[in-house]
């Protein structure tokens, strides 16, 4: 459903050109969860902004359902890393979630229903009339996720959404993402620098190189579903996959391909 072909982005001009992205190509299928990982400073956020239509790539194109993305498409929602800055502190949780619905052609009842349902999906019904800053970081990010869900996107882009929450909250939020993917039947592109997180969440992982960035490898994650924070992470395959992706990022070319290692211990 989403095709990224030969996307390149450079800044500046003349002798001072910085090539952030050299050439990125990959695609995402319907209802797939794909993580993009790479070393820090490799232009993950730049790539996400190009895909979201917030930034024009210097070359190449992004195609969503056959239509080239030139501006933020209606079928796409974005969750940013800085939850405390992407939510409006002057509005209640309800009005924050309502914001992107106000200009959609919906009845008042329909809007209310979407707001309440999406807040219920992230478990924040009780906090609907609170202000975002009255909530913890993890809860604020759940408000941002609820806002994205209420928008009813086909694809959800998430830019390191859990980078600034504590480890336990992060685990809960990861499971929330997997759950809403199934419940709402949406496709998710998840940018992260956390290799464990990418292996745990993904159907496939797009591993990027250092800048100027290209796709190093697209890794298919062969782990049983549904995933579980404890059971999945204690599987030997999890460790193997994780090590494989880790080596790719560290430029270690001696890593064995994961396909030779998966297949055992999957069905216990």
């Amino acid at each position: 459903m989403l095709e990224i072909s030969d996307v390149a982005k450079s800044y500046g001009s003349g002798g001072k050109v910085t090539h952030a992205l050299r050439s990125i190509s990959f695609s995402i299928a319907e209802r797939e969860l794909v993580c993009v990982v790479g070393p820090s400073g490799c232009g993950k956020t730049t790539l996400l902004k190009c895909i979201a239509g917030l930034m024009r790539p210097t070359r190449g194109e992004v195609v969503l359902h056959g239509k080239p993305v030139t501006a933020p498409p209606e079928e796409m929602a974005v969750v940013f890393q800085e939850y405390n800055r992407s939510l409006m502190p002057w509005s209640t949780v309800r009005n924050n979630v309502l914001l992107p619905l106000r200009h959609k052609k919906l009845s008042k009842d329909e809007r209310t229903r979407l707001v309440e349902e999406s807040l219920e999906a992230v478990g924040l019904t009780r906090f609907i009339d609170h202000y975002p800053w009255q909530l913890s970081g993890g809860m604020q990010q759940r408000v941002a996720i609820a806002r994205a869900l209420a928008y009813q996107p086909l694809i959800l882009l998430m830019d390191e959404p859990f980078a600034s929450v504590d480890a336990q909250t992060r685990g809960d939020l990861e499971d929330l993402v997997l759950r809403v993917r199934d419940e709402f039947g949406i496709t998710i592109l998840f940018v992260t620098h956390d290799i464990d997180e990418s292996v745990y969440l993904s159907d496939r992982i797009v591993v990027l190189t250092h800048a100027p960035t290209v796709v190093k490898e697209v890794v298919r994650v062969e782990l049983p579903s549904p995933r579980d924070q404890i059971a999945t992470k204690e599987l030997p395959e999890f460790a193997t996959q994780r090590a494989y992706v880790y080596r790719l990022i560290k430029h270690d070319t001696t890593a064995p391909a994961p396909s030779t290692l998966v297949g055992e211990g999957l069905h216990d």
Partner: protein
Amino acid sequence: MRGRSHETVKVAAEIVVPIAIVVVWELWARSADSQFWPPPSKIVQEFNDLWVFEQFRSDVVPSLMRILLGFGIGSAVGVAIGVPLGMSLWARKFAMPQIEYWRAMPPPALLPISVLLLHSIGNLQKVSFIAFFCIFPVLLNTIDGIRGLDPTLVDTARAYGIPAHERIRRIVLPAAFPQISAGMRISLSLAVIIMVVAEYFSSTSGVGYVLLISKNTFQLGPMWAAILLIGVIGYVLNLAYMLAERRMLAWHRGWRAATPQ
């Protein structure tokens, strides 16, 4: 209990200085017996005779109306011009030199031209004169507030395709409002100053006019009563504005307290 007595001491500290000043002034003025420095007790007497309620309708109400109208119109114009300027670099390039020039103009310098241009020394001239100078603090703060808008919030609005009018109403203006409001507070006290200037130099009514007439006729009691009233107007308006701001910006205090800046 300790907290409470601490509060009492704080309030007392705020009150004790003004009381001391008035007492010293009273004692000194009585012993000096100068016609230029009537004792506060006499000024309060004059204040009562003059303003409560002899000339309240004829002079205080017009002055207050001029302040509030001028302040309201000036603030609205400041925000209306400030929004496009805050959002567009090119608009700022064109407009900022003009703004800096007129902003630096001392109000009395423009008084003659305002009388000539508007063919009047009545309310129209007073209100537009006050409004003109109230524009600038609000305008500059609106521009600054909008330029300081968080880029993440801008990206959020774009990603969700929020149309321009919704963006301005629900994101840009609320985000800039703490700064706009700070500008409005400056404009409000400016409005009082300019009201006095305008009424003092060209008027047939108002507190500033009473100040002028009583000075010219050597009625120093009423003159001091007018000065006292102008101070009270400025103080009360500022206090009322601060209380209103506390309510309107409750979210801002909560947010600042909760967010490490």
